[in-house]
């Protein structure tokens, strides 16, 4: 058993090293590592940063070794932008990660089930997946967020996002499952006496898992973006710092109009970097998984 695990690990590491050869993957990974380190740095933030007017108002960024808190200036509420930003980053990453954990795994399950079932079961799952794919996500989430505003925390928001998030991964997994199930190797496995569950686990899942990983990453991107969109409407958890609420408050205090660029810019830069980093990673994995694309690279 341990041998098996070691073989699996070595396989994963070879895949990782192959991926590292793509420049795109390296850039993405570097950005992601920086983001995670910044998010971890939020653990060092002093509790006082949460209080309003603990610092002077509207200070522009200043580089002063004695007052590192003011590196990125302060907001109109007298709070340091540095700490808000890294905490917002951490919270947004948590929201993205938890949504991806819930949503993409529901997607994996439903997609697999839909791909292997036949007859009315297939029709029902397809109808379900397709209607959630077609449903406009933002309006639905706005309604849900308004209704559930009272119980919303960093940990329950992902649950709400997952209501929509599972559908695209499910559709993706279903189409891969269908294509694999129709291949001759599946018939051959069946004629080798391998049981249905064995076929799913050993023949179908290895194909699906790679795509599941890209789905997972894409869901993180989607969830962070969606949270931001909700926040701009004022429907996120406004008492907590997330990348979205940061933009909301900045807008609310007319930061842009008043020239407080240091309040507005960090969340935008960070959102864009996260998007680029994760997108590079997910697209290089997709590139790796798609032999047709891979063939053209060299």
């Amino acid at each position: 058993m341990s041998l098996n695990i070691r073989a699996k690990l070595s396989k994963i590491s070879t895949v990782f090293y192959t991926l590292l050869r793509y420049t795109r993957f390296r850039i993405g990974l570097a950005i992601l590592i920086v983001m995670v380190l910044l998010a971890l740095a939020s653990l060092t933030s002093p509790p006082v940063y949460r209080r309003w007017y603990a610092y002077p108002k509207d200070r522009p960024p200043q580089f002063n070794l004695a007052a590192m808190d003011l590196l990125l200036g302060t907001t109109s509420n007298g709070r340091p932008v540095t700490y808000i930003t890294i905490n917002a980053l951490a919270n947004s990453l948590i929201i993205g990660l938890v949504t991806a954990l819930i949503g993409s795994h529901i997607g994996l399950l439903v997609g697999l089930l839909s791909g292997i079932s036949r007859g009315y079961k297939e029709s029902v799952t397809v109808l379900l997946i397709d209607s959630f794919v077609c449903m406009p996500g933002l309006p639905l989430l706005i309604v849900l967020a308004m209704a559930l505003k009272n119980i919303m925390t960093i940990h329950t928001l992902p649950l709400i996002l997952s209501v929509i998030a599972w559908a695209w991964p499910a559709r993706n997994v279903r189409s891969i499952t269908l294509s694999v199930m129709g291949r001759e190797m599946i018939y051959l496995a069946r004629f080798s006496g391998i049981k249905f569950t064995g076929i799913i686990v050993h023949e179908v899942l290895p194909y699906v898992l790679g795509w599941h990983l890209t789905n997972f990453i894409n869901t993180i991107i989607w969830a962070i973006g969606m949270e931001t969109a909700l926040a701009i409407f004022g429907l996120s958890i406004l008492s907590e710092d997330t990348l979205g609420t940061m933009i909301y408050w900045a807008l609310n205090y007319n930061a842009l109009f008043r020239g407080l660029w240091w309040w507005m810019l960090p969340p935008i830069v960070i959102i864009i970097s996260i998007f680029i980093g994760l997108y590079f990673i997910s697209s290089s994995i997709a590139f790796y998984l798609n032999p047709r694309l891979r063939g053209h690279s060299q």
Partner: protein
């Protein structure tokens, strides 16, 4: 002499899209295979339904009408293990028939474990080694190889070895050599012949290549757009074809002998731009658009099977 396999009016309907039009990929096919080692070729061009027919026999698809009997029992009443023990497949694309993420040997081991019923790992390998050496492999060489380290021909031999492990009565080989080089193709075909003679295994050999069909098969059925239009002993059908389609097929087959060039070039082929979909949904004979002898009846009524000199042909020309 009993029958090993019998197809009774087997029909498979496919449809395009959710409410798209339906067509009969396999239409009212009746065939029988006697219970002695023989090679039965099902020949036809692309879109003739030969692969669908193979998959119906392999229980990949379920017929919409008709039934398929193996040793007198409907194949859907036979238990999985008995079915897999008696009927085994070989597929067209050797690279697609083994999972690239697993070693090919795994499927041989699974076959022995699940179907032959040997549990001990060493015994399994001994059992596999015997069959592998029969197709010319050494187990110590192939056991650790991945799919991509084999050539197409080698993988196809692995697939044959796997199929032989259960000592099946019947192997359904779906275009097993079409992806291989000509100089290697004949080796696989010869191997089939050897297996038939030495191990008493019957084959259903699906192909579009009439030359290899003539070379190995005892019986042949020619398919066109889902129905079998002519069947019988292969020498008979291929040397004295009855159906106009079989005749055209044989006339257009290039011959690897430049001396026949003149004769071959003299027989001009007419280009018919008919649409496949239209042919599939015809009520009468499917060949009517291309047939030079077609008359009114051909368009409306499907011809019955007519027996002439032991061959069965479906053509109104021979109806008395």
């Amino acid at each position: 002499m009993g029958e090993m396999l019998r197809l009774e009016n087997v029909t498979k309907i496919f449809r395009y899209g959710f409410l798209g039009f339906k067509f009969r990929a396999v239409d009212d096919v009746s065939l029988s295979l006697e219970d002695k080692p023989s090679i039965f070729t099902i020949a036809g061009e692309s879109g003739s339904g030969k692969t669908t027919l193979a998959r119906l026999i392999l229980r990949v698809f379920r017929p919409d009408f008709g039934r398929i009997l193996f040793n007198g029992r409907n194949i859907y009443e036979i238990g999985d293990r008995t079915f897999y023990r008696n009927i085994q497949p070989i597929f067209q694309d050797p690279y697609a028939s083994f999972n690239p993420m697993q070693k090919p040997i795994r499927y041989l081991r699974e076959t022995v474990k699940n179907i032959v019923g040997i549990e001990d790992e060493r015994e399994i390998d001994e059992y596999i080694a015997k069959t592998l050496s029969y197709v010319g492999f050494d187990i110590s060489v192939v056991a650790d190889k991945h799919q991509h380290e084999f050539s197409g021909g080698e993988l196809q031999r692995m697939a044959i070895a796997r199929a032989l492990l259960t000592k099946p009565k019947l192997i359904v080989a779906d275009e097993p050599v079409s992806m291989l080089d000509a100089s290697f193709r004949i080796n696989i075909v010869n191997l089939f012949k050897k297996i038939k003679e030495e191990m008493g295994v019957s084959f259903i050999y699906i192909t579009h290549d009439l030359a290899t069909a003539y070379y190995i098969s005892d019986y042949i059925a020619i398919m066109y757009r889902g129905s079998v239009i002519e069947s019988g002993r292969s020498e008979k059908v291929l040397s004295e074809p009855l159906h106009p389609y079989t005749k055209t097929l044989i006339e257009s087959l290039p011959i690897p002998d430049p001396k026949q060039k003149k004769l071959w070039m003299q027989k001009k082929m007419a280009f018919t731009a008919s649409i496949e979909e239209a042919e599939f949904i015809l009520k009468g004979c499917r060949y009517v658009y291309r047939c030079p002898y077609a008359f009114d009846k051909c368009k409306t009524v499907m011809p019955p099977y007519i027996t002439i000199n032991e061959s069965n042909v479906r053509c109104w020309l021979y109806y008395k």
